[in-house]
Symmetry: C2
Subunit: 115 residues, 2 copies
């Protein structure tokens, strides 16, 4: 396996990176919801923790019936079983979604790096 | 465990999200290198795959002696054992670093989601 893979993400509704980057520990997508749009379904996960980063715009996510407002610079972790749905406000919402297997991380940074 | 955790990342040299978001499957950091700056060491990892997203600016990463140019919108996966060092060009470099255990992902998206 090559020691790295690189790609460039341009504007678009959704870019999935797993295959483009040959990811083995995550699936990552870059997403844009248009003004007033929403992910058209509520979903949860079997095993995967999701982490969302808001890149631009404003919106909200409903998590198990609780409303959380979102703006650029916000990050949110959602447990696998929580039911979630994202909505974009007037200017649209651009965000990253990172899927990882819950409880899969062992060491990290100081305990996993070799300098 | 709470079904979600949220935080906001403001400008700054480095924000580590593992503890802030109670992450269990990843460590994620948001980083800013100043113009002409660099990560002051070469490093690799024992177990963790790293995925970097360039948010703004320009720079380069040296991976096992190979130079890869970087600009906003670029994404790169680096294998655990590859030796890497990041450098910022004139305008600085803002990027996300995602650490996950290599080969830890099982299902994802269609095979892990419940709708």
């Amino acid at each position: 396996m090559k020691n790295f893979n690189k790609t460039h993400v341009s504007a678009g509704a959704r870019t999935e990176l797993h295959d483009l980057l040959k990811l083995t520990g995550a699936e990552i997508s870059v997403n844009e919801l248009p003004a007033g749009g929403c992910v058209p379904f509520v979903h949860s996960h079997k095993q995967n923790e999701e982490i969302y980063a808001i890149l631009s715009g404003k919106g909200k996510v409903e998590i198990d019936g609780e409303i959380v407002e979102l703006a650029a610079g916000d990050w949110i972790r959602i447990s696998p079983s929580a039911k979630r749905q994202f909505f974009a406000f007037g200017e649209g919402l651009k965000y990253i979604c990172i899927q990882v297997k819950a409880n899969s991380l062992e060491g990290y940074t100081a305990s996993d790096a070799v300098i």
